[in-house]
Symmetry: C2
């Protein structure tokens, strides 16, 4: 199977699982319909599902079957989508288009978008805390603790705060790296670590996946920044040049395109190197590192 086909095959399974959770029939009480509809709109029907893919493929190195990784993968995708909904809000990045269609606050209203984000974030922890996600409560606890750290004030939400503060300022390379490590890196690193946690990997196995996740997160962000400068809107499903227009400092604007491309290439190689100990069991993650570094959208 080609990498693209594998990515979309898993995306489809994640989509089904998400749709199942978001049907509102799993919990003890039914959620109000308007909010549920906004949450489904926010989380279903789009996206490459890269983070769930990373979780699933990381877990598979340790023998975890796809079926047994899908709940944790769905929880992670809930958090990713909550962050998109809140980031798109008028008070934040003020985006009207996401994945080629209206953002949640445009399709519904601002209050519903705030609540849909809140609801998706909370649902993620509801999923992770449920016994169906893993039979061992210690594993579930570790998954939840890791997700909270990766997505909270010292992770993704903190990165978004730094990003808002940075508008119109010139940041140092170190400041940009910290911002991006929190805003994008933390959740991508978590995806890989969570796979290792699900697989109950320890020691060097786990450390290797953490390192891979960290490098991949950096590569992902750098590729994204390069696309913002060189990509076209049709392929991206959103406006190109957005960061430049907003006066946002990126490594590309600071280092220049050539140096940024060289760093991306180095990150790709390093990420692949960290996987050596896993042999061919990690082929899929190697392909992911190539895909992330060379993607066009």
């Amino acid at each position: 199977m080609t990498f693209d086909k594998k990515l979309s095959a898993i995306a489809m399974r994640v989509e089904q699982r998400l749709a199942d959770f978001l049907s509102g029939t799993r919990g003890p009480a039914a959620p109000p319909e308007k909010l549920a509809e906004a949450m489904r709109y926010a989380a279903l029907g789009g996206g490459k599902r890269l983070r769930p893919f990373l979780l699933v493929e990381s877990a598979s190195i340790f023998g975890v079957r796809l079926e047994n990784a899908l709940d944790a993968a769905a929880a992670l995708e809930c958090v990713h989508n909550y962050s998109l909904v809140h980031d798109d809000l008028p008070a934040m990045d003020n985006d009207a288009i996401r994945r080629g269609r209206d953002t949640v606050h445009i399709a519904f209203d601002e209050a519903t978008a705030i609540l849909a984000g809140d609801g998706l974030l909370t649902l993620a922890f509801e999923i992770l805390a449920a016994p169906e996600t893993h039979s061992d409560s210690a594993v579930r606890g570790e998954l939840a603790l890791g997700l909270a750290r990766a997505s909270g004030w010292a992770g993704m939400a903190g990165g978004q705060s730094l990003d808002l503060e940075a508008e119109g300022k010139s940041l140092t390379v170190d400041e940009i790296r910290r911002l991006q490590a929190l805003k994008t890196g933390a959740l991508i690193e978590y995806a890989c670590t969570a796979g290792a946690v699900l697989g109950q990997a320890i020691g060097k196995d786990r450390a290797a996946l953490e390192a891979y996740g960290r490098l991949l997160g950096q590569a992902f962000q750098l590729a994204d920044d390069l696309l913002d400068v060189t990509g076209d809107a049709a392929k991206l499903g959103k406006k190109a040049g957005k960061d430049q227009d907003a006066g946002k400092a990126t490594l590309v604007s600071t280092l220049g395109i050539e140096k940024a491309r060289a760093e991306l290439s180095r990150l790709e190689t390093e990420a692949i190197t960290t996987l050596e100990r896993f042999g061919e069991r990690a082929d899929s993650l190697r392909e992911t590192a190539r895909f992330v570094s060379h993607r066009e959208h």
Copy 2:
């Protein structure tokens, strides 16, 4: 010790524990300062801390010492305060004053208020998932699952969604009850259930605390609605008559003041009755039922 003194003594301990968590020194990485400051502003220095008090007192029935209930109590208070920050936003209830001072989006800005709410919600699950909260990961998992259900789309966030939809509409008594059960009731009920979970109570013991929490939540909301009609702004620390002005349907506007007072009195009695099996160990919760039903702010 009088009830008021007991309530404020525990509020002080909860405040200290919250301040400790919000110092940003507990996790593996330091959070960005502006966001951390907004979260401290949102969560510290105010409020009766009624929900943590309920958790602590419910747990104490089963022999859990205050010290061992404070982490879970702080997590619960994080969620309560996140909901206040988001509910106060311009797109929601658009409130400028809370506890007698500027709301978070006024004191900081709207984007920071959204992120501070997100951060507090996420921190709650970080606390509950941490081994320090309880040595048994199954207990931590149950605490997290319960909190997610009580505060998510089929709980508090769902109630806020119904509340926004209800503005200017006339709701039936049943619709008002459902709205309030989700918006306010779920988290108050959780406070009592969480105490029982921490105390590893089962069967009728646990069911009694669930029933007490449900009745107390209803009493709390009804007393709140009565205060909105009859209270004065100075004591409330916020504008009175707010719900009336916003055209919000409450049980008081639907049933009338006298019937609402009679129902409140019935709820108070029933809540106290559910505690019979615990004897004097539940005296504090009995006093809470009286306090909630007769409070002036």
